[in-house]
């Protein structure tokens, strides 16, 4: 259960990225977060795992107040949240397995991580995740040898290896061929359905949101302008959500 209330984020340059955002998401939901570029989708997701520190409001995940976490406690929280980036953010000079294993770093003392002393179970989890995203047999391939779609699948495997309670995906298809969207969203959807893990995906293509998500949260200029089942989305609402798109350009 994620409970966000009165969330605010003002960046040091004065940009009001989030204004009075309150939302509650039950466990196991698949939520699409939609809106224009710059509407605050990304900041919202990044606040949830504290890559961005909110300037006001509370975030409760599974009853814990996440907004106040610091240091070791923050690391312990983050290891339960898989984050998938638009630009994959893999270490391209390392192998697929090394990248996926790094998802386990939060579960071990620092010295073990430094020496790459992962446990047997870590290897099993990593290899299972690699199989699940369809890259079986590519363990030792350097990531820079893979295509963009394959790289994003490695990133998903890394998130899965964390054994997360929550997956946040920030425009995971935006730098890929549009035809790969179904592969990526399909993987996340399957993971959501088989493991019951909550998934939040930022999407700016509304058709994809309609196809995969049960629920949609729409942002415009830092505020939630719609929050409800995907079936309630209609043309009027869409024009509200995408209002001001020409100004934004």
């Amino acid at each position: 259960m994620i409970e966000v209330s009165n969330l605010h984020k003002v960046f040091p340059d004065g940009t009001k990225a989030l204004q009075d955002v309150s939302v509650s998401i039950p466990d196991g939901d698949f939520v699409a977060v939609i809106g224009l570029s710059g509407a605050g989708k990304s900041t919202f997701l990044r606040c949830l795992n504290r890559l961005v520190d909110p300037t006001g409001g509370t975030i409760a995940v599974g009853g814990r107040d996440v907004a106040a976490l610091r240091g070791r406690a923050l690391q312990r929280y983050r290891r339960t949240v898989g984050f998938i980036f638009q630009q994959f953010n893999l270490v391209t000079r390392l192998s697929v397995l090394d990248n996926v294993l790094s998802g386990r770093l939060g579960y071990h003392p620092t010295w073990r991580g430094m020496l790459a002393l992962y446990s047997e179970r870590d290897y099993e989890l990593a290899q299972a995740a690699i199989r699940e995203v369809g890259l079986a047999g590519r363990d030792d391939t350097r990531v820079d040898q893979l295509s963009g779609g394959q790289q994003q699948r490695v990133a998903i495997a890394r998130a899965m290896t964390q054994e997360p309670e929550l997956i946040l995906a920030d425009e995971p298809m935006a730098s890929l061929d549009p035809r790969l969207s179904d592969v990526i969203l399909g993987l996340l959807k399957h993971y959501n359905e088989t493991r019951g893990v909550t998934v939040l995906v930022n999407i700016h293509v509304i058709e994809l949101a309609k196809r995969y998500a049960r629920r949609v949260i729409a942002f415009n200029q830092g505020r939630i302008v719609f929050d409800g089942p995907v079936t309630e989305l209609d043309a009027d609402l869409e024009s509200t959500i995408y209002a001001g798109s020409l100004e934004a350009l």
Binding site: N89, T110, G113
Partner: protein
């Protein structure tokens, strides 16, 4: 002298024919001439001993040749061409240039003349202050935010510099600055007579001394014109009397003539083709003038001379003559024979080993330090920021001290030999590599760092798993690059006694065995090329 004049004229005409801006050259010539008028030595004025000799500028000579003031007028006309109609400006500049050339020529074609030096106290000090203020102001001029603060700071710093230099403490540290700038004033007939009398009165003592060291006696003189080849009496020289000798001209003559030529050529071209101008001519002209004004004294103080090169030419030929053919080995020499090629091979190996060990040690220490000197890793808390500042400070300090200087110190400390060279090289390489490494760290892709923070990895694991894999090939590349440089440095290290091939070269050079030295030179050329080639090939495969 006329060569410079013609050179300036022809060059500017050619630039004009190639459609370059003539107004820019006119302005540049004017600014340059104005600066040369006040700052560049034109002739020599001798006293009794050689340290009495001063070099008056055009301005300094104006009191005895008042017509020289027209040179300043010509320079100002050139500058005024920025605002005048172009035909008129060009014509005036050309006219001024002709006048200048004539005046400078006549100033250095006159007979020697007795003058009295009048110091202008505080002028040098004031100019230094203005230079400090000006450079600080220019530094901030580009940025709107810094313009006013730096102007204020500049003026304050300039005033402080001036105040310090004119104070007794300043004069104690920079004794030459006091009254550095001197005007040459004419001497009236009565004083001239006194000095002639003084000269003749001292003659007996001087001739007695000259006789002792076997020089012929000097005759008495009748007027100051006879001081042409003689010296001013000691006491008179102390009181500030000098003989201006037009025959001994300084580079100021060349610069003035060159700039006059430029003014003439470009002024005439501008009057003929007024369209030869561009916007931004004033800034461009000042830039040209600045280049000429900084290069001319630099050539003069580095004693650049084609004449000396021509004089030294036979030595170079003789050197090559004696160096070829190389003496590879001579088993019959002396009791045991000599084997220079063998020696070069072993010394070259030592040089290579100095470079290897020096680079290795430098890299070992530079890697950990570079993480402390990377801005993006040290902004967490005030302590880390302090560590960052200290490490960077150490790097900058260390980088400022060249390997060769360190080697001189270490040779004194640990004695002659390769160890001193290795120490010097390692210490200098730490700073150089550390700076390059830390810049690589600062330029890593932020993405993987963020990703590892997002999986809950600790700070050191983020460095280990996201930064290190990204920077390690860069580190290796920089290390190879430094090794290339260090190899060339270690050749020179031998010259200060830190072992290796340089030591061999110095030894053979001083004993005149050029036919052995040439082997070392050939070996260096070959090995340097092999190492550069191998290193760049290796670096191109790291990525």
């Amino acid at each position: 002298m006329w060569v410079a004049f013609a050179l300036g004229g022809v060059a500017s005409v050619l630039v004009g024919l190639a459609n370059g801006s003539m107004r820019r050259l006119v302005i540049g010539g004017g600014v340059g001439l104005a600066a040369a008028y006040f700052a560049f030595p034109l002739l020599a004025a001798d006293g009794f001993v050689s340290r009495d000799t001063v070099s008056p500028t055009l301005f300094g000579l104006t009191p005895i040749h008042p017509a020289l003031a027209l040179v300043l007028v010509a320079a100002l006309l050139g500058i005024a061409a920025a605002g005048l109609p172009r035909r008129i400006g060009g014509s005036l500049a050309a006219l001024g240039a002709l006048t200048t050339a004539g005046l400078v020529w006549s100033a250095q074609a006159r007979t020697p003349q007795l003058v009295h030096l009048q110091p202008l106290p505080g002028l040098m000090e004031a100019l230094t202050g203005v230079a400090v203020a000006g450079s600080l102001t220019l530094l901030g001029w580009g940025s709107r935010r810094l313009r006013i603060p730096l102007l204020v700071v500049g003026i304050a710093a300039g005033a402080l510099t001036f105040g310090f230099l004119v104070s007794p403490a300043g004069h104690g540290l920079f004794p030459n600055a006091d009254g550095y700038y001197r005007l040459a004033l004419p001497v009236d007939r009565a004083t001239q007579k006194d000095i002639v009398a003084e000269y003749n009165a001292n003659l007996d003592t001087i001739n007695a001394q000259r006789k002792r060291i076997g020089l012929h006696a000097l005759p008495a003189i009748a007027s100051t014109a006879d001081l042409d080849t003689q010296r001013v009496p000691e006491a008179a020289a102390k009181r500030g009397y000098r003989v201006v000798r037009p025959a001994e001209s300084h580079y100021g003559v060349w610069v003035a003539m060159l700039l006059a030529g430029v003014l003439l050529g470009s002024g005439a071209m501008l009057a003929w083709r007024p369209r030869l101008h561009e916007t931004g001519d004033v800034a461009g002209g000042i830039l040209y003038a600045a280049v000429v004004l900084s290069l001319a004294p630099a050539f003069a103080s580095t004693e650049f001379s084609f004449g000396k090169l021509a004089e030294g030419w036979p030595f170079l030929m003789k050197f090559l003559d004696r160096a070829w053919p190389p003496l590879w080995a001579d088993p019959s020499y002396g009791q045991f024979g000599i084997f220079p090629l063998q020696e070069v091979a072993s010394q070259m190996l030592i040089t290579l080993e100095i470079a290897l060990v020096g680079t290795f040690l430098g890299a070992i220490f530079a890697v950990p330090l570079s993480f402390l000197a990377a801005r993006n890793l040290t902004q967490g808390n005030p302590l880390m920021r302090l560590v960052f500042a200290l490490t960077r400070g150490f790097f900058n300090l260390d980088r400022g001290v060249d390997t060769l200087i360190l080697a001189l110190i270490f040779v004194a400390a640990v004695g002659l030999g390769p160890f001193a060279g290795v120490l010097a090289m390692a210490i200098h390489s730490i700073a150089d590599l550390g700076k390059l490494y830390s810049e690589s760290i600062e330029n890593v892709d932020r993405g993987p760092i963020e990703a590892l923070e997002a999986v809950g990895a600790s700070g050191s694991n983020v460095v280990r798993w996201s930064i290190l894999p990204q920077v390690s090939p860069l580190f290796l590349g920089w290390t190879l690059y430094r090794f290339e440089i260090n190899f060339r440095v270690s050749i020179v290290l031998g010259l200060v006694g830190a072992g290796g091939i340089g030591f061999f070269i110095q030894d053979k050079m001083s004993s005149g065995r050029y036919d052995q030295m040439i082997i070392a030179i050939l070996a260096i050329v070959i090995v340097v090329n092999i190492i550069d080639f191998a290193s760049s090939w290796l670096r191109s495969r790291l990525v």
